[in-house]
């Protein structure tokens, strides 16, 4: 077995070959050696280690990803993590300001800290961490679980219909996975990929519509670290509502809380020492579920992209939140005594790409997977003159750019852009490549439509989406952040019930109030309806950026939020 020191040296040597730039490498390696060890330093507990990745959104290479500066919690989640951002987040988790942790976990001083600490993620860096932990802990003691949304979110994943990431997860040695955007490749493709995959695809909550039979395995037992570990999988329960149902017409989803309880009981009856829920429910849903379904030891949460440096405990259930885009790897060590969890230690490992030597095999695979699209990925449309980011409850500057593109290129009065949580961040001065545009738009239903909608219809849409985020009962929430709007301002009181949250809708260009009965030209994309016509959104955005050249968008205030 190679020693830790040998491993670090081997990894550095491989990095040298890959980089080709000796001076830059030597400097990075000094930083890398120190920091890679820092990132991996962990005082082990017990015999079992669970590693968790989630919501990679097909990011093969390191990117910038700014965490939200607004994340409103409602109902019982009000003021609780993950609904704490920036200073409140740092205070709650006792994270010092200004360092690598604050950089990776908040939006504070993002531009400056990004230049200091660099991009995050990259599956070759992730592979280095996973291999190092397997080497130090013993491969038979480690379980690697992915929480879904791994196969979608980039140009290469879209072109290969998830095939590139399926190979990455196989190369990482993933043991099990769950799904959400995976289903937007259609039922047949999901089946094709998962039937061929060396890892289990688990979904206790998907049934055939007609016969109510399970479509996928609900759980799987693994023997690791001398323990029997059962992993129950939960697909995103609202997939047929938030994403096109016509792509998975024969499947029914849902939370299926009672079936979940039965899965837990069946797992225990089969002799499970540890029951893990690998979930794409979203954090608030899992927090509620943890209090209602008995006997789950660990919930590996996903979907809502929250990254938390400490676990949240609900009773004796441990909730882990690993963030998104490959920024983090979660390590959870469990001590099992008398067939029960007797102790644990947790670490949220930041995947700081400049500090971690790329794994040579994974780096080679990434090069191979990206090669067919190299020319498209590298094409530069313009450059950013301000920070372009997406994540947050309401409009971000990247989506403002997309909305401006739709208003201009589709000659619309109002633009609607989906509240996706995925997509990278560009720093001022960064080129806006086709890859960066695809990272925020690569879906299988990209058509940018142009319709007329009445003011009443627009309000109904805003109210409907707002209730998917701000319904005080997490079981009635579904989907992403608030729909982004261009050309229109509005006020929202998140404390109100559905139908009463939205007011003061105004057409920004004319300054006139939106009238309920008047019709407006509306452009939008990512409609869940079948047969939507229009050019793919990335084409429109690239065209608009090419015409604009320098994109400067400051955060705007045309959405007035109260009641938080």
């Amino acid at each position: 077995m190679i020693s830790r020191r040998d491993f670090v040296i081997a990894a550095m040597a491989a990095g040298a070959l890959a980089s080709g730039d000796r001076g830059a490498f030597a400097q990075a390696a000094r930083l890398g050696k120190m920091m890679q060890d820092d990132i991996l330093r962990f005082d082990p507990v017990g015999t079992l280690t669970i590693l968790h990745t989630t919501d990679l959104h097909a990011q093969l290479e390191p990117i910038y990803f700014r965490e939200p500066s607004l994340n409103i919690g409602v109902g019982e989640a009000r003021g609780l993590p993950p609904h704490l951002v920036d200073e409140a987040f740092l205070a709650y988790f006792k994270v010092p300001a200004g360092g690598a942790d604050a950089y990776s976990l908040t939006s504070l001083d993002f531009d400056a800290l990004a230049r200091t600490y660099g991009r995050m993620g990259g599956v070759d860096r992730l592979a280095t961490l996973v291999k190092a932990i397997r080497a130090s802990r013993g491969a038979g003691n480690v379980l690697l679980l992915d929480g879904g949304d791994g196969l979608q979110g980039s140009w290469s994943s879209l072109q290969s219909r998830g095939g590139d990431m399926a190979r990455v997860f196989a190369a990482l040695g993933a043991d099990a996975m769950v799904g959400h955007f995976e289903f937007t490749y259609g039922a047949d493709r999901v089946k094709e990929i998962m039937d061929a995959a060396p890892y289990a695809f688990l979904a206790q909550n998907i049934r055939s519509l007609e016969w109510q039979e399970p479509v996928f395995e609900g759980r799987k037992m693994f023997e690791r670290g001398g323990a029997k570990v059962t992993v129950i999988g939960q697909a995103f329960p609202r997939t047929p509502i938030s994403n096109p149902r016509w792509m998975i017409p024969d499947w029914e989803f849902g939370l299926r809380e009672e079936d979940m309880q039965k899965q837990v009981e069946a797992a225990r009856a089969e002799g499970a020492d540890v029951v893990v829920l690998l979930s794409h429910n979203g954090f608030d849903v899992d927090r509620k579920l943890a209090a209602r379904v008995k006997g789950i030891d660990v919930i590996l949460t996903g979907h809502t992209h929250d990254a938390m440096p400490k676990p949240i405990l609900v009773g004796s259930t441990i909730l882990i939140a690993t963030g998104s885009h490959g920024k983090f790897l979660s390590r959870l060590d469990l001590e099992i005594k008398d067939r029960k969890v007797a102790g644990f230690r947790y670490g949220l490992l930041p995947v700081l790409s400049d500090a971690i030597a790329p794994d040579p095999e994974m780096a080679a695979l990434v090069r191979e997977l990206r090669a067919p699209y190299a020319a498209d990925l590298a094409r530069v449309a313009g450059h950013a003159e301000s920070l372009l980011y997406r994540r947050g409850n309401f409009n971000g500057t990247f989506d403002d750019m997309i909305c401006q593109a739709m208003l201009a290129e589709r000659d619309a009065e109002i633009a609607l852009s989906p509240g996706f949580r995925w997509g990278g961040t560009l720093l001022p001065g960064d080129p806006i490549t086709f890859e960066a545009i695809a990272n925020a738009t690569a879906i299988t239903y990209p058509a940018c439509y142009r319709n007329t909608m009445t003011g009443q219809q627009l309000k109904d849409v805003l109210e409907d989406v707002a209730d998917n985020i701000f319904n005080p009962d997490p079981y009635f929430q579904g989907g992403g952040d608030m729909v982004r709007v261009g050309g229109m301002g509005y006020a929202i009181d998140v404390s109100q019930p559905v139908g009463r949250r939205i007011s003061d809708m105004v057409h920004l260009k004319s300054g006139k109030p939106i009238e309920a009965s008047k019709s407006y030209a509306v452009a939008g994309w990512a409609s869940v309806n079948q047969g939507v016509e229009g050019p793919p959104i990335w084409e429109l955005v690239e065209k608009h950026v090419a015409a604009t050249k320098a994109v400067k968008i400051e955060p705007t205030s045309f959405v007035k939020v109260t009641g938080a």
Binding site: S242, G254, W422, V461, F476, V528
Partner: protein
């Protein structure tokens, strides 16, 4: 007027279903039932007789994946003997143009008081079940089902 109570045939369900789809298509602003409409229907059936909670298990999605066919399973706890059985279960939807969804009638020979149906829900609303037991006792259960326009998730 007495509320029409029947055990519907498949064909009748189809007709009711089609009628409501057509009604919705022709008149999108058709008057919807309310909680009061349902309360009035129940009053016609059972007067002011008190209703208890418990015994009824309503299995419904929290959010409908397709408002046109929302699955409902209803299951009433009962030994189903000659001495103690469930006589009828009425299901109402308080936000549909026609609030009566279905009525099931049972006998001890039914073995169990359980049934499944798929219904159309025009909007977010409550689904209410009322079970009439052989000793005359009434039980009720209610669950909200959210019907969305469909949106942008991720």
């Amino acid at each position: 007027m007495q509320l029409r109570s029947w055990t519907p045939s498949r064909r009748e369900i189809m007709e009711v279903g089609l009628a409501s789809v057509l009604a919705a298509a022709l008149a999108p602003r058709l008057a919807m039932a309310t909680e009061e409409t349902v309360a009035a229907e129940l009053k016609k059936l059972y007067g002011d007789k008190p209703m208890a909670g418990g015994k009824i298990k309503l299995d419904l999605p929290e959010i409908a994946e397709n408002g046109l066919v929302v699955p409902l399973n209803v299951d009433v706890e009962s030994p189903m003997t000659e001495q103690d059985y469930v006589k009828a279960v009425h299901v109402f939807a308080d936000g549909n143009p026609l609030p009566q969804v279905v009525t099931y009638r049972f006998t001890p020979q039914s073995g169990k008081a359980a049934a499944s149906v798929r219904m159309r829900l025009a909007q977010t609303q409550n689904v209410i079940a009322v079970a009439e037991m052989s000793n005359g006792a009434l039980h009720t259960a209610k669950a909200q089902v959210k019907v969305t326009i469909g949106g942008c998730g991720g």
